[in-house]
């Protein structure tokens, strides 16, 4: 298998880059909350009304979903295999992937609706 995004290297890089974006987003939020303590609803609301914050949050959400999609695939293809689960391996893997796709897709769509 050539990888989720066409090659093993591409998957590897996407995982690393997306994790850096996730880290950057969390560090920004922690810094913002620390510098604006005590945080009020109006401050928080103003932050997320800013177009740059909306773009940054959307980038965070896409990174989160891509990172999770590759990560859950790696876990599933380690543990949910016919070698380990016999004839049930493939059906269980397909159900697991469908569930992952459903949950990740819902989180992405719902979050984008909230943000925008």
């Amino acid at each position: 298998m050539k990888g989720i995004f066409g090659s093993g290297t591409r998957d590897f890089l996407i995982i690393r880059i997306s994790s850096l974006i996730l880290l950057g987003y969390f560090l920004f939020l922690i810094a913002y909350i620390t510098m604006n303590s005590p945080l009020t609803f109006s401050l928080w609301n103003a932050l997320f009304e800013n177009i740059l914050m909306k773009v940054f949050t959307s980038l965070f959400l896409f990174s989160f979903c891509v990172h999770t999609w590759i990560g859950t695939w790696a876990i599933g293809s380690d543990y949910l295999t016919p070698d380990r689960l016999g004839s049930l391996g493939n059906p269980i893997y397909k159900i697991y992937r469908s569930l992952c796709a459903g949950i990740i897709g819902t989180i992405l769509l719902w979050s984008l609706i909230i943000i925008w």
Binding site: I4, S7, T9, T81
Partner: protein, 246 residues
């Protein structure tokens, strides 16, 4: 061996060893064998196995050089993979008990002997030989000392299988993930200045499983009896692939 040592210098040791003979056993079991080992001398685990075989003649294990070169006697020694011939009892024994099992993750043929076919299948996939496209030179393919130095830490692998059979990723995907030993060998030829198939070798590794299924668990590093670092080799191959794709 025990006959040449005065009795007062012997101490008892319990050897708990994995036993399975497909011709008579329905399932594997652990057998405790009480043996006496010298109190004033640090034997190797392989010596203990020979002492045990004097009592249990059907006990089976592989061995050849008995000095850490051939890689035949890889086994699980008190929970950690290693070579029986180079592991001293003083390092292995806990509470006066030595537990020996076959290397995990591979089918057991008998007692401590495992079927290494899967391991060597993966090894074969990395084409562990020089690939050249130019005509053969009159004498030899030369290499500078600096180019030769790049092979240090890679060529010393003896293919005992301790690293790959300690790797959970290899247990989970033994047919897809190449395993630390094969990947170490792969880098050995990727960095060899005389090899002319670097790009093809990297292409072969650029899928989801062969190389990238390494999760950095590092068991390979902690068990390698030659002190090699397969995880670093895997990381170096990743760097080469990443730089190539920029």
């Amino acid at each position: 061996m025990s006959a040449t040592i005065p009795l007062k210098e012997l101490k008892p040791l319990i050897l708990s060893v994995y036993r399975f003979d497909p011709n008579k056993d329905k399932k594997a079991y652990m057998q405790d064998i009480e043996i006496e080992v010298p109190d004033n001398k640090d034997l190797m685990v392989l010596d203990v196995l020979h002492l045990a075989k004097e009592k249990e003649t059907s006990l089976s294990f592989r061995r050849s050089c008995a000095e850490g070169v051939c890689g035949s006697d890889g086994m699980n020694i008190n929970g950690k993979n290693g070579l029986a011939c180079t592991t001293p009892l003083s390092e292995a024994v806990k509470r006066n008990k030595l537990v020996l099992r076959p290397m995990p993750g591979l089918p057991v043929i008998r007692d401590l002997i495992v079927d290494m076919k899967q391991f060597f299948n993966q090894f074969e996939k990395v084409k562990p030989y020089l690939i050249t496209k130019d005509d053969a030179p009159e004498l030899e393919r030369k290499q500078s000392p600096a180019e030769r130095e790049k092979l240090d830490g890679l060529y010393e692998c003896i293919l005992c299988g301790c690293c790959s059979t300690a790797c959970p990723s290899f247990w989970w995907n033994p047919d897809k993930f190449l395993g630390p030993a094969a990947l170490l060998y792969s880098l050995r030829f990727i960095v060899d200045s005389r090899d002319q198939a670097t790009e093809e070798r990297l292409d072969d590794l650029d899928d989801a499983f062969s190389l990238y299924r390494c999760h950095g668990i590092m068991n390979c590093v902690s068990v390698c009896p030659k002190g090699l670092n397969p995880a670093e080799a895997i990381s170096n191959i990743r760097k080469k692939l990443t730089n190539r794709n920029r």
